[in-house]
Symmetry: C2
Subunit: 505 residues, 2 copies
């Protein structure tokens, strides 16, 4: 096969795979939003069928031949790619081909079956607050994840690295360990200091009518540059972003949390994900894998940058708080801007990761990452996992979960064997802070925020991050945007500066 | 291949095809309900891909071999099927295989492309009230439909019969002509007489809050036996029913029409379709093509039976009007049951089919059927179609459309080349009346309605119609249920009895 023909084939197959992904997203979106209770089993079969079609294509003979004609191998996954687009396309397809083919069909089937059962038992265990209901399944999931990791294992990588690489291409566990170690004591210290501050945020938990919350969030989404002709929003049990088509990118939120800021923050968070997806879908890369984000961590950096660095910024609220007050006059009666901003930035250690404040959040992740390392190395057994969890929670956050549901059973990820996923949440904070620092050195972000010019901030991110899609690994992209390698202390410094300004500590 | 193996293969392929249909329905449901404006093109590709997968399977070599091993041919489409299930399965798969294979891929592509363009021009023509914007496309669509009909043409069939057969297996245009001719003068006469009655229905067009309309409709759907664990409802531009899975059957309505009865009737109508789908999905036939309705006409008979014969029945309202009054006290203040029932059964000729009353509706269909015949035979040219439409409207309904949008451009069907579809709406009325008559001879329907026992009526239909799915052609099914062949005068007699009782004419 000639190089040109192989390239045409690879791009065609890649576009086909992206379309299959989008069909899968439609099935899964509808499952979350509208599917009948009794229809869930068939929906799972429908999604399974689409996945198997995609798997066959991604790992099939035709793909293998084209990749080989393009000279892609483990040393040179980008093969004979002539420009950044071609290099990325070949690299992405080679990586998927190589990783997925290394697993037997039998193992893939076992992982999927076990995860499904483990998920049901995880729900049951949470409801009954009984670790032993979930433990045997987790043991099985863990063994299978290790088997998978063995298949993925490449020279110079640890067992865990292969799993981490599924979410964060090229990242090593050892690097994450070093990054986290460089800031953990400072975060622990900061949480402790800030949690001593008395901050009244009770007015955030008053009755805020949903239609008015929707109106306010719409206003901010519009300013952010969310394109409602290319996307929409809905309500779901857990907030998420989904790409159902290159021009059909949707976000959800929920209005069941006690604070008005929960749904607003989640809208801005998912809005950040959506802007990334919308921006990456352009030109030749539209409809190809290149229009995905660079990695899970880089994606999370954009949602968290919008949610926290922008959406909880005092300058942001200088512009938006008057509108917020106008929409919610009685709820904010007598609440000054200063009091409002302090309230939405209140630091209060809690057991639940998804409700964590900006400072404590990364500690929740470090806790999980450390436990994942210990589970993989065999340093702790699953019998000891709940107490190890509680001990780390006490050390890092100063609190001990009272129930398993508040502790070791709170997250769904382990039930599906997604070890290596958690770190990407904290990596997102690190990438985000470094990009934020860079942006502030290039433009007067504070002045823009004060005038509600979110579009100009969005423009910077669009040019430097979104439009790049997955042309580059996130480490390379970060280097291009910020001119330096990943430095975790930028994040801890950002937090120290912001919170000392706000609360004077 | 052995007969047993062939049968297993046919059933497997059929189940696969049904799953693909359901995936297509999810894509299309989401398109109607939630898709982004700019996402529609990609959605069309997604649906096209699913269709082409289904087409390949339905007309592929494996299917052909299995059908041949089962001895299916045009004389014996049921092949060596041993029982009703096997016979139906083989018959359905043979028919799809035989009809679809008779068209070239080139023709299928041309039909699909032309329909897409014709649809856009139909919208434009309607908006601009300009027949000439649509005429050239319709000419092309018509020529392609004729080409398709030539491919479908079998011994003893007319050109139009092959198209009609797509919607109503085995039905002939000549039979439809005879059926319609037997009742047309009586319907014309009845419409004319009834339209002279003075009936005040203005209170139906007052402000009826949507949430209360939803609550009332939910109450009736529950009583009908609509299973909300196997289905749901939503709001859309045009009401429809969709089967997204054997246990995920959804209906929609709209609240934009002026009368409160429009959304209620459409809910009951779609509810009837949904009950059919829910009932047909059981036992071995669940997940196979046998769980589809017997034909378009039979499906429509069930929606219309629920909508009109039940939902506009005086006895139905003896039970429900007190609840309706309780939910809408101010809107129904001073309106007696008698006045209410007369109002919802008001006969008033109008130009628009979808807004037609129970008596006039079938005349709208006859008009279209006659024009389709004339277009196919070449008796009228498309230049003359608008005036032919208006002339027939004057003859049958006593009114002449003032615009093309109110006349020849009002329906979408012709733009997609769906000639042969319209008659099934009226056939539904005929089947429905005959089944209704039979049901009344078996049980005291009036007494059941007066007590709101819709479930017992649903049970009769479930046993005699729904559970049969597409085991039998609709003509055979009708014979089994009612003990006689289709007789259109049962419908006209039903109308004469009902409306003479109500309005004394």
């Amino acid at each position: 096969m000639t190089r040109d023909k192989a390239l045409v084939q690879i791009e065609e197959m890649d576009r086909q795979l992206v379309m299959l992904e989008h069909i899968g997203s439609v099935l899964s979106w509808d499952q979350e939003i509208a599917a009948s209770k009794k229809g869930l089993d068939e929906r799972a079969s429908q999604m399974g069928w689409i996945s198997s079609q995609a798997h066959e294509l991604a790992c099939g003979e035709q793909m293998g031949e084209a990749l080989s004609a393009l000279g892609a191998d483990r040393q040179h996954p980008e093969g004979s790619g002539a420009d950044d687009f071609e290099k990325a396309l070949i690299r992405i397809r080679f990586r998927a081909w190589d990783k997925n083919r290394s697993m037997s069909t039998e193992l893939v089937r076992k992982i999927s079956e076990t995860a499904s059962r483990a998920h049901d038992h995880w729900v049951e265990a949470r409801n009954q607050n009984d670790w032993d209901v979930f433990k045997p399944d987790l043991q099985e999931v863990l063994e299978l994840a290790k088997e998978k990791a063995e298949c993925y294992k490449r020279e110079g990588s640890s067992l865990y690295d292969g799993l981490l690489d599924d979410f964060e291409e090229g990242m090593k566990a050892s690097q994450v360990t070093t990054l986290f170690a460089s800031i953990k004591p400072r975060l622990v210290d900061l949480v402790q200091k800030l949690s001593e501050k008395q901050v009244d945020d009770s007015f955030l938990r008053m009755d805020y009518p949903v239609d008015k919350q929707e109106a306010f969030a719409k206003l901010v989404l519009d300013d952010m540059g969310f394109d409602f002709s290319r996307g929409s929003r809905a309500v779901s049990v857990h907030p998420f972003t989904s790409t159902l088509g290159c021009d059909d990118i949707r976000i959800t939120t929920r209005y069941t949390d006690p604070s008005v800021m929960d749904s607003f923050s989640s809208t801005v968070h998912e809005g950040g994900h959506a802007l990334y997806e919308m921006g990456a879908s352009w030109g030749r890369q539209k409809g190809t894998s290149i229009s995905n984000g660079a990695s899970f961590g880089m994606h999370e950096s954009q949602s968290r940058l919008w949610e926290n660095m922008i959406g909880k910024n005092e300058n942001f609220w200088i512009h938006y708080y008057p509108m917020f007050k106008e929409i919610f006059p009685s709820q904010t009666d007598g609440i000054s801007l200063d009091r409002f901003v302090k309230a939405i930035n209140k630091v209060e250690p809690g057991c639940i990761r998804v409700n964590a404040d900006e400072v404590g959040y990364s500690l929740h992740i470090m806790l999980r990452f450390e436990l994942e390392q210990d589970m993989f190395s065999g340093k702790i057994s699953l019998d000891d996992l709940p107490s190890a969890w509680n001990e780390k929670s006490r050390e890092m956050l100063g609190i001990v979960p009272k129930t398993f549901a508040e502790g070791v059973l709170q997250d769904v990820h382990w039930s599906s064997g997604d070890f290596g996923y958690f770190p990407t949440y904290a990596l997102g904070n690190l990438y985000g802070a470094q990009i934020w620092e860079r942006m502030r050195s290039e433009m007067d972000v504070d002045a823009l925020l004060k005038r509600g010019k979110l579009g100009e901030i969005g423009s910077f991110l669009d040019t430097h991050v979104y439009k790049k899609g997955s042309l580059y690994k996130s480490s390379d992209l970060l280097g291009q945007v910020t001119g330096k390698p990943l430095d975790a202390t930028i994040f801890s410094r950002y937090l120290e500066d912001k919170f000392s300004c706000l609360f004077g500590c």
